[in-house]
Every structure is written in structure tokens, then in C-alpha cells.
């Protein structure tokens, strides 16, 4: 049995919220008891985490002539393959950069307010998180249609008079970034705010005594202390963003095909499987996406040292 060489003490304040941490190594009852407690979860992990992963790899690698990369090469040569990944990269670029900047700025600003006002803002920011997915697409359909949108004056500023103008192919990455920001940013602002609250008050007061203004304090003291959270947000968002499906899918339905049904890689995989009955090719694209997700996760867990693995 591997005995952890050093027990990492988690964030004191987070622990404090839940009471005192009992130091020392996890010790206790017999091994069989441990197996018993994790058994159900392990079964689920094997059946619903590991098995489908293995299955996807197997399907993607199996060709009429045995194991091979034919399906990967096949899909790679599809006319929609490269564009689908380009779309995602463009979307992620716009979304991650703007979300990072805005979330940090808004969290810092909210943090300067008195408690009651700041909690009102945080509430307003995070409420749209309740409508993640299909619901937000319906709402944004109307927000992007100059005829129904409260933001019509903005859309008119871009000379958009029709929904078709707003959701023109070149705008889609921005549009999906706005949707993702709408539902996701509030949660992150709330988290950043929590992280900012964890900064010891003395540290900030000391800076202020040294003559640092609010802006300088934010930049020099607060920002470096929440850097870890920013990385956490970036990585999780990147992983989630690579899987974009519901937004282009529903928007495509609602605009009678103005958005290609193969816009994102996940859509392409879905199209191959369910419109063309090509499950092995679909599995190959799923594997591509899985590998991206896995790489990001492994990188974050083992290199980022963000998580407590005792």
C-alpha cells in the first residue's frame, strides 16, 4: 500500500468552513471495509467511465482488416473535419479570453463594494446559470433577432436587421461565446469573489497603508493570489467548450439550416452516427475529443497541483 509521503494540508479557510481538519494520514478500519464503501462507485466508474472509453477506442480502431487508423484517417479527410475544429478553436479563443478578462475585472469590482450591494450583483450575475443549455439557446434566439430583441439598438449598430444577419457564419464563434458567457460567467464571478474573500485582510490593509490605491491593490496583491483559480476556470472551460453541441444544434434547427449540422466536432460525430449510419467514424471523432479532454484533465491534475490528493 502506498503510504503518502507528505500529507498536503488543504486550504485552511475552506476546511474551516467545514470544521477542523483531522491531521494525519487516512487511517482506519480494515481494507475490506474500504472496498465495501467504494464498491458501488467503482462499479459505476468501470461501467460508465472506463468501459465506454475503451469501447470508443475499440470501435474507432477496428477496421475490416483488423486494428488500424483507417477511421481516423477517414474522418480527418472529411471536408467538415478541419473546419469543425477550427470553429471550436475560434470559439474557445474568443470565449476564454473575454471570459477570463471580464470575470476577473467584474469579481475585483464586486469585491470593492459593501457586502449587501455586492451580494445583489453576484446574485444577478449568477442567476442565468440556471438556464444552461437548451433554455438559454431559446432565449438568445430572441435576443439575436433584431425584431424581438431588447438589444435591437446594438444589433442595428452592426446593420443587422434580421436574425439571419446576426447568425451569419462568421459571427457564430462570437455568438456562442456570448451564450456561454451568459450562463457560465456568473458562477465563476461568485467563485472568484469567494477566493478574493479568502485573502487575509491584513495583506490588503498593509498595501493600502503603503499608499497603494484600489487599482494597484487589485493588480499587485489580489490578482496574483487568485491566479490559481483563473487557471482552474480556463482549463475547465476549455474542456467543456471543446464539446460544444446543444447551442449550434438548436440554433441550426431554428434558422432552417443557416448553421451547418456539422459545425462542431461533436455535431459532426453525431451526424456521422445518426444521419449516415457510420458509427465507427463517429467513434473516431469521439476519441479525438476524448483525448483532448483527457490530456487537459491529466495536465491539470498532475502538473497543475490544484487538487488535493492527500
Amino acid at each position: 500500500m502506498t503510504v503518502p509521503s507528505a500529507t498536503v494540508v488543504p486550504d485552511e479557510r475552506a476546511s474551516a468552513r467545514w470544521g477542523r481538519r483531522a491531521g494525519g494520514q487516512p487511517a482506519g478500519g480494515s481494507r475490506t471495509a474500504g472496498y465495501f464503501f467504494v464498491a458501488f462507485y467503482v462499479v459505476l466508474l468501470l461501467a460508465l467511465g472506463i468501459a465506454p472509453t475503451v469501447y470508443a477506442f475499440a470501435l474507432a480502431l477496428s477496421t475490416p482488416g483488423g486494428l488500424g487508423f483507417a477511421h481516423f484517417i477517414n474522418t480527418f479527410n472529411f471536408f467538415d473535419f478541419a473546419p469543425a475544429f477550427e470553429h471550436i478553436l475560434e470559439f474557445e479563443g474568443i470565449w476564454l479570453v473575454s471570459q477570463t478578462i471580464l470575470v476577473v475585472i467584474l469579481a475585483l469590482m464586486v469585491h470593492t463594494l459593501v457586502r449587501r450591494v455586492s451580494s445583489a450583483f453576484r446574485f444577478v450575475f449568477y442567476l442565468p446559470g440556471a438556464m444552461a443549455g437548451a433554455a438559454s439557446v431559446v432565449v438568445w434566439l430572441f435576443m439575436f433577432d433584431p425584431h424581438t430583441s431588447p438589444w435591437a439598438f446594438v444589433l442595428h449598430g452592426f446593420h443587422y436587421r434580421l436574425l439571419a444577419n446576426t447568425v451569419a457564419p462568421g459571427n457564430l464563434p462570437v455568438i456562442f461565446a456570448i451564450m456561454a458567457f451568459f450562463t457560465g460567467a456568473g458562477g465563476w464571478i461568485v467563485i472568484m469573489y469567494g477566493a478574493l474573500n479568502n485573502i487575509p485582510r491584513e495583506l490588503i490593509e498593509a498595501a493600502e497603508i503603503d499608499g497603494s490605491n484600489a487599482f494597484q491593490t487589485a493588480l499587485r496583491i489580489k490578482l496574483p493570489l487568485i491566479r490559481k483559480w483563473i487557471v482552474y476556470m480556463l482549463v475547465l472551460s476549455f474542456a467543456a467548450g471543446s464539446q460544444l453541441f446543444v447551442e449550434p444544434q438548436i440554433l441550426g434547427v431554428a434558422t432552417v439550416g443557416e448553421i451547418s449540422p456539422q459545425w462542431s466536432p461533436n455535431q459532426l460525430a453525431y451526424y456521422l452516427a445518426f444521419q449516415l449510419d457510420r458509427f465507427n467514424d463517429a467513434a473516431a471523432i469521439s476519441v479525438d475529443l476524448l483525448v483532448i479532454g483527457l490530456l487537459v484533465a491529466v495536465l491539470l491534475v498532475w502538473r497543475g497541483r490544484l487538487f488535493e490528493v492527500d
Binding site: A58, L162, N165, V256, E258, F274, D277
Partner: protein, 467 residues
């Protein structure tokens, strides 16, 4: 070790012994979990078993009127009606469900009969790798089949001669005219009979009466009139699995250049989709569109629409090359599943729906019945809706017989491709060139064709070889 289903000739049921062994363990585990928690609620649809299994029929919203008429005529019929989206453009509901069921086995509540608004679906769903539609030739009497309008069953006939659907209605494009507005602006001049004539009238309106319309370039269906209706060969199946695409044909460039030269786009050719939120049917002087625009788009009698007795249909304009042809949009098919437990009843039901005057005459929002004996009762039901019923009826009959057959039913949506390649340019202000859309559209169609396993023939190398 694993079976592949990627090639189009592969058998549909991908489960093999190998995979079964591989997943036996998983099965056990999953089933154990499932069994261990049976206290939880059951499947939503696993209702009590009824004595006789009802016929499961999927229809779209527009066909609810049919449902009511059917149940009125047959109050005791054992039918489970399910409303779905009619397999609307780009959603591929039937494709995805069929693909799924072909892997998992067909459930007992799978539809026996379906109404499908996509004319290309029958060919795709009725041939490999799907091959899921019943051959109606063995169930529907020949005399009945012969009564369908000439050519109307072509989208329902497979290369091997099976009849895999029944055509419900024709959605041929006619020229819709508001005679009041027309005589106000053009006096006693005859209504145009050519595309050139329509575009010229548009030019006159652009300056003299801005805001009034002679057509539309604002939605994904415009190519159905401008290109299909001008014999533009961008979608012509010329042999098994082979499609010919020629964006350089003068039939295509002729109409495209005429539209560009007229300067009508964004003026008398609306950039707002006729289905868009701000489209105002009261501004339509004339417009090429399918039969059902008469009620559905101009919303005769409804709030924001034109009053009943306003619109009249004229025969579709002659193509730019002089041919008397037209395009089409919509109309529907009755499909019967090959996996139905009661093929006889299912086929009889589909036949009844497509041919009974009791059903067909209520389809005011649908097109002209393709079962010819029903045409008159259908037309008589519309006499109060249109200004000049006899002209309208004659125009509909003409249009239904003029639909160009060179625009083939294919397993991808030409509308959706038009929407994603050309629409944003044509709806921009100022609009881009229509003619410039032909090549990218052709390339995108060719890509869809290749994705579906077709061979593309084209004199244009960028289309033939991909880019």
C-alpha cells in the same frame, strides 16, 4: 474483433458475437445495478398493455387537421397519434431514430406510419444502409397508384422499382399575385409570365413604390424557385450513387445574373424571410412560392395577414431559358415502416390518408392533393380564401404538372446547404452577388454528396474534386 458498420454495404445490425462477449461483463454489471434499484420509477412510456396494439402514426403539426378528420370519420379506430416535427429541414429525426433502432432493435412503439415533409427522405430511408420502408406495391392496388398525378411518385420509387411512399400533396411553386396592388401599380398590364418580367416589375417598384415586393431572397428555400425553377443542374442524380453538378450552366448563371442586374435584392426582393418576424404580407405585389404560401404565408384572414379573397395564383413564370418548368417546396410523403407488426393495416391507413377525400379536402394549409380524384373537393374548399378561385385552381394544376424533375431527391437538404452558404451574403446590406453564390453552393452540395457516399460529376474541377 470489433465489427465495423462504416462501409455503406455493411449489414445494418452491427452486433456480433465478438462484441457481445466483450460487453458481457458490462451487461452483467449494468443489469445488476438496474435490477438492484427497481424501486425507482418505471419507464415513462411503459404504460399498461392494451388488448390490441394500436397503429402508431407520426404526423407533423400541420397534419393535426387530418387527425381530427380521420377520427371523426373513424371514431373507434385504434390509433396512437404522435406529433413530431415532420422531420423538418436539417433535423433528421427519422434518420437518427432509424439508425438507432437498426442497432438496438425496433421497439414496439416505433411508428408504423409517418408523415414526412422532406421529399428526399423516402429515398434515403428506403434504400441501404437504412432500407426501412415497406414496399407499398404489394399492398396498394395498382389502380390506386395509377391515380396519382403523373411523376408525383418519382420521389417514392426506388431504383429497383419499389414504391416506398405515397405522395400527399404537391408543393409546386406558382406566381402569387395581389391583384388590387398589381392594378394599382401596373394598371391593366398583364401579370408577368417570365422571370425577366417579374424582375422588371420589381425594378419599377424599387423607384416608384419602395417597400413593395415581387419576391424574396431572405430564406433557405429561395434556391427552390430561382435555381430549381430555372432548370439549374446542381442536384441531378444521373445514375446509382452519381450526381451531376454544374454551376456554370447558363440555366444557373442566367437567372443569377438577371437577379444581380435588376438590383432588386434588398428592395423589391425581400431580404426578410417570408417566415420572418417582420415580414409583411400586405406589401406583396407578387411572389413566386408554393401553393401553401396562399394560406400559410399570406395568412389570409389572420391578424397581420391579408384579408380573405385577396391573393390569386397565376401559373409559374417560364424559366430564363424559356422552358415551362417550376420548382417546389414542401409537400409531404406518407411512409410505412418495414418493421411494422401489421403491414396490411399500416399500408391501408397510409393509402386512406393519401387518397380519401374526407382527409384531403381539409388540408387547406397543405398543397394540392396528388391523388387526382381528390383535387376538386380540395379546391372547392378554398373558394372563399382566394380572390379568383378558378384562376387559382387552374394555376395550381398547371404548376403541379410543371415541376422540373431534374432536381433529384437526395439524402441531404439542399435548402440547408443554401442556408449555410449563400444566405448571409444575400441578406447582408448591401446584398452580395447572387451569381457569386453558385460556385460555393455547388461545392458545398458536392461535399455533402461525397459525405453521403456519392460520386460527383462536374465540369468544374473544384466541384468535382473537392477543395
Amino acid at each position: 474483433m470489433f465489427h465495423t458498420v462504416s462501409s455503406s454495404n455493411a449489414p445494418k445490425l452491427g452486433r456480433t458475437r465478438g462484441r457481445r462477449c466483450r460487453t458481457a461483463l458490462i451487461t452483467g454489471v449494468v443489469l445488476a445495478i438496474a435490477g438492484g434499484a427497481v424501486a425507482l420509477v418505471g419507464v415513462a412510456s411503459a404504460g399498461a398493455k392494451v388488448a390490441a396494439k394500436p397503429l402508431v402514426v407520426w404526423i407533423d403539426t400541420s397534419r393535426v387537421a387530418y387527425q381530427k378528420a380521420y377520427m371523426k370519420a373513424n371514431p373507434h379506430a385504434n390509433i396512437k397519434w404522435v406529433i413530431y416535427n415532420g422531420n423538418a429541414n436539417g433535423t433528421g429525426v427519422l434518420q437518427s431514430k432509424f439508425a438507432l433502432w437498426n442497432r438496438t432493435g425496433w421497439p414496439s412503439n416505433a411508428p408504423d406510419v409517418m408523415f414526412d415533409t422532406q421529399n428526399y427522405d423516402a429515398v434515403q430511408l428506403g434504400t441501404p444502409p437504412y432500407n426501412d420502408l415497406l414496399n407499398l406495391k404489394s399492398y396498394v392496388p395498382k389502380s390506386v397508384l395509377n391515380n396519382f398525378a403523373k411523376g408525383s411518385l418519382s420521389a417514392c420509387t426506388t431504383p429497383t422499382g419499389q414504391v416506398i411512399c405515397l405522395r400527399n400533396d404537391s408543393a409546386a411553386a406558382v406566381l402569387w399575385v395581389n391583384p388590387g396592388l398589381y392594378s394599382q401599380f401596373f394598371g391593366s398590364a398583364p401579370v408577368p409570365t417570365t422571370w425577366q418580367g417579374i424582375l422588371a416589375d420589381g425594378q419599377a417598384l424599387n423607384t416608384a413604390h419602395p417597400g413593395y415586393l415581387v419576391g424574396d431572397v431572405g430564406d433557405a428555400f429561395d434556391e427552390d424557385y430561382y435555381l430549381w425553377g430555372n432548370e439549374c443542374p446542381l442536384n441531378q442524380v444521373v445514375g446509382k450513387g452519381t450526381i451531376a453538378i454544374n454551376p456554370n450552366s447558363s440555366n444557373c448563371t442566367g437567372i443569377a445574373k438577371a437577379i444581380d442586374a435588376s438590383g432588386d435584392m434588398g428592395k423589391s426582393l425581400s431580404q426578410t424571410s417570408v417566415f420572418g418576424s417582420s415580414f409583411n404580407p400586405n406589401k406583396v405585389v407578387m411572389m413566386v412560392g408554393p401553393l401553401w404560401y396562399g394560406t400559410a404565408v399570406f395568412q389570409t384572414g389572420a391578424t397581420g395577414g391579408v384579408p380573405n379573397g385577396t391573393m390569386v395564383a397565376y401559373p409559374p413564370p417560364a424559366a430564363i431559358n424559356g422552358a415551362h418548368v417550376t420548382g417546389a417546396l414542401g409537400g409531404g410523403l406518407w411512409l410505412v415502416s418495414k418493421h411494422t407488426s401489421n403491414p396490411k393495416a399500416a399500408a391501408a391507413f397510409a393509402q386512406y390518408m393519401a387518397t380519401s377525400p374526407k382527409i384531403q379536402k381539409v388540408g387547406v394549409d397543405a398543397g394540392l392533393p396528388q391523388y387526382v380524384p381528390d383535387e376538386n373537393s380540395y379546391l372547392s374548399s378554398l373558394s372563399s380564401v382566394f380572390a379568383n378561385p378558378s384562376t387559382t385552381e387552374a394555376a395550381w394544376k398547371t404548376a403541379a404538372s410543371e415541376v422540373w424533375t431534374g432536381w433529384s431527391p437526395v439524402p441531404w437538404s439542399t435548402d440547408a446547404v443554401w442556408g449555410s452558404t449563400a444566405l448571409s451574403t444575400l441578406t447582408a446590406s448591401p446584398p452580395g452577388s447572387f451569381a457569386a453564390q453558385l460556385l460555393p453552393y455547388a461545392q458545398a452540395l458536392a461535399n455533402q454528396a461525397r459525405l453521403a457516399g456519392f460520386t460527383v460529376k462536374s465540369p468544374v474541377s473544384a466541384v468535382a474534386n473537392g477543395s
